[in-house]
Amino acid sequence: MPKFASQVDILGAGDRELVEMSEKNLLSLTLEEMKAIRSYFTELGRNPTDCEIETIAQTWSEHCFHKIFRTEIEYTENLNGKKKKERLSLLREIKKATLKIDSGLCVSVFKDNAGIIKFNDRYGIAFKVETHNHPSALEPYGGAGTGIGGVIRDILGAGKAAMPVLNIDVFCFGDQGVSYSELPEGVLHPRRIFRGVVSGVRDYGNRMGIPTGAGAIVFDRGYQNNCLVFCGTVGVIPLTQVEKRVSDDDHIVLIGGRTGRDGIHGATFSSASLNANISRSVVQIGNPIVEKKMMDVLLTARDEGLYNSITDCGAGGLSSAVGEMGKDMGAVVNLERVPLKCNDLLPWEIWISESQERMVLSVPERNLKKLLELSADEDVEAEVIGRFTKTGRLQLYYRDESVCNIGMDFLHNGLPLKKMKAYFSFQDKPMKEKVSSLKAGELRERLLRVLGSPNVASKELVVRQYDHEVQAHTVLKPFTGIEGKGPSDAVVLKPFYDDWQGIAVGCGINPFYGKPDPYLMAGCCIEEALRNLVAVGADPEQVAILDNFSWGDMHEDGHLGTLVRCVKGCRDFALKYQLPFISGKDSLNNVFTDAKTGVKTSIPDTLLISAVGIVPDVRKTISSDLKKEGNALYLCGITRREMGGSQYHQVFGITGGSVPVPVPSKALPLMKKIYLCIREGIIKSCHDCSDGGFAVAILEMSIGGGKGVDIFLDKMVSSDVSPESMLFSESQGRFIVEVDAGAADRFEKIMKGTDFANIGRITGRESITFYERGLLFSLDIVEAERVWRSGLKW
């Protein structure tokens, strides 16, 4: 008679009972999936144990298996009334782009815990960005902290462990001014979420001793009930440590934190809708000190070659980690050996708990003693919990009782993928937009309003809480200029003391462009990420990107269609900009169900593109703050009336208009030339035009350098002559560059063949003055700075 595992009566269950069983136990399995489990156990002639059902549910969860990204989708696209049908798989489309690009940059893509690219002949760069949306909405501090803790472990689990050198964070929050009475039950105030998330990331990242150097924050009402928290980590790894392989007969060693009841059902829960009745067991609270000690042990053990393979315990806990490592062989685990936080855990709870700060190693017999001693020396718990085998089965025991015995093949290949249908319809004509002809004074007022709006305003209050200096290799920091007030487009690191080569990291996110057509949002995000790197001196031919899709309710019509459309955009624009995707992550079903009304609200579909690139010589890196009086200012790229989704429209509540259309055939050659000029040293500062358009970009440069400028709008290369669009349009492919006064001819010679114009110069005055066939208006730098730096409330 089994004492520790209970039988689940699946053989005798009808379809309705199967559905009930899945719902009652938070398994998030569909009827088809439950049926597949039933027929597997019918063949075995017995009922599964609770542990077996939970293991399957974890492995098959959307979070672990990415069902929607892997399945075959029949997609119908209706563009301007023309229908087109095609069959595709989202993951395959993304990978297709990477395969076609074949840049020689990629070392390990789409197979490990992180993507790895080549840094030099000895080292690679590992990069991964994760989402931690659901936990952060429920308990912002713990949720966000464990988000960053988790992605750091992804880097430690990339190859045989990369050393983390940088964290990045991107957040999307609801409207900070919303009144409490408007919030549904169970939803924390967006301001509380904002502070909690920032504090969580700050405390975890700072205590780990990893600099936090890049990121973005987006505010929109749509994120009120479901915030988004993207956490990323960059690591460096010797190229010889990239390959890892579990040997059968290796010991399974669990290292790091203890296992408790925290985070049970995190993986299956992340596929479900949020509501007011959530159990506290899904909340995870991190302990960075434990992770820091574990990291130190791992990096030493790696260099001494003590283990054959490694992975982190993330979603699904041990179940996913051991299941994944032993996929092609088999594993035996004795669950009573797992060190616990509290003694009353059931075997299945131990197996799927998502307690933080744990990693799994496969250690050959000959190194076991040494590894355990090393851990003990560093006050890190490490325990042998089982062994890899050749049986092809996953066998779990609890005090000699068999609690799970299933085939690895069924576990990893038995999931019936449901074919899906998606539909997307789009009219490719500009939507009506209110065009106003504004007087100079009104334009000035509007510019200040945009400058002080939370999405555009300085994020210094947040960024300064993060340590971006620790490890002493941050060359270009998040804020630049003599007084450190100007924003950087990207962060630049110099990871090795004996090498001038550096790493640039930046990102692109703009959910506002996604509403009419997610295809263009993909293009804009990819281009923005690339522009940010080019602006600091990265080589546009040595850049790789990551995708993070945070989407709304997949059970609802429409969201799958927009997801497919966006993935197609990612594929096409990645090819056009020659940027390989090296890793990615999706977080679907970001939806909230109001317990009282039953009304469901989804987030705005959001794509984050993160980019990592090579700066061949960090001494050539440039920042965005203006440097010297008398230097010429150029605007490179064409300005069009592309105000759809712009910050200008957000602030003044204007709808319609054309969303910016990226033009890679123009933007890419332009970026290559800018890169050349930066390498030659003739560009003294550079900033890309993004949120808020040209006007915000030049103001940020001016604030950063504390230098005034004269700007002649009429000289701009622009297809629209209204000052409103010249100031606020968010056309892609544009950079403002400061060129050394003596090098203007050289600059113009190199840039020949691209669209650029000398639009002004740096003055000795403390004002930013715009001319448009005569004086338009003027702003004090001090005034602009005050508005820009006080727009974000903490």
Partner: protein, 177 residues
């Protein structure tokens, strides 16, 4: 390092001397601005409760086991406070010291929620050579001044001070009582 891990120890101690619950309150000295309290006050006003006049905050450490007065003072002085800016109070002496006019709310984690600060406190206590304490938990204390009725206090707790998913609160001193 959790409470359970120390259980074995406690059974042993129970035979000799009765275990007790100790409370240490740590808060800023009166001349040091309580920035956290100031922010909480702003948040409370934004819920529509304009009667709030002042919010002051403290950290609470609840220790369980056997411990003499001298050891408790060592824990407070050597482990828990920053002597330049903070004071400590044992049990509820801090409430009396604060004076009249405050409602006092304590917020602690629910059982089963990981309390990493408490784990670190236990490590430090052990490192300090104090052997017979076997668990710690951490919390927050809020002093709320103003004409607040019971409904106001509940609103403040649920909307600003407490995340009911992971925390419990108790009204330690109620001016309406």
């Amino acid at each position: 390092m959790s409470a359970i891990a120390f259980m074995v120890n406690s059974v042993h101690i129970n035979n000799m001397e009765k275990e007790k619950l100790f409370l240490i309150e740590v808060r800023n000295k009166t001349r040091v601005t309580d920035v956290f309290g100031y922010m909480i006050k702003k948040d409370i006003m934004e819920t529509g409760i304009q009667e709030i006049e002042e919010v002051l905050t403290s950290s609470l450490y609840r220790l369980k086991g056997v411990c003499c007065h001298r050891e408790l003072i060592r824990i407070a002085e050597e482990i828990l406070i920053d002597a330049v800016a903070q004071d400590y109070f044992l049990d509820n002496s801090g409430i009396r010291k604060r004076g009249a006019g405050y409602n006092v709310i304590d917020v602690f984690y629910k059982e089963g929620v990981t309390d990493t600060v408490a784990e670190t406190v236990m490590t430090a206590v052990k490192d300090a050579g104090i052997k017979n304490l076997f668990s710690a938990s951490t919390g927050k204390r809020y002093y709320l001044k103003g004409r607040l009725n019971r409904q106001d206090i509940e609103t403040i707790c649920m909307k600003v001070l407490v995340n009911p998913l992971i925390q419990n609160y108790s009204v330690v001193k109620d001016n309406n009582a």
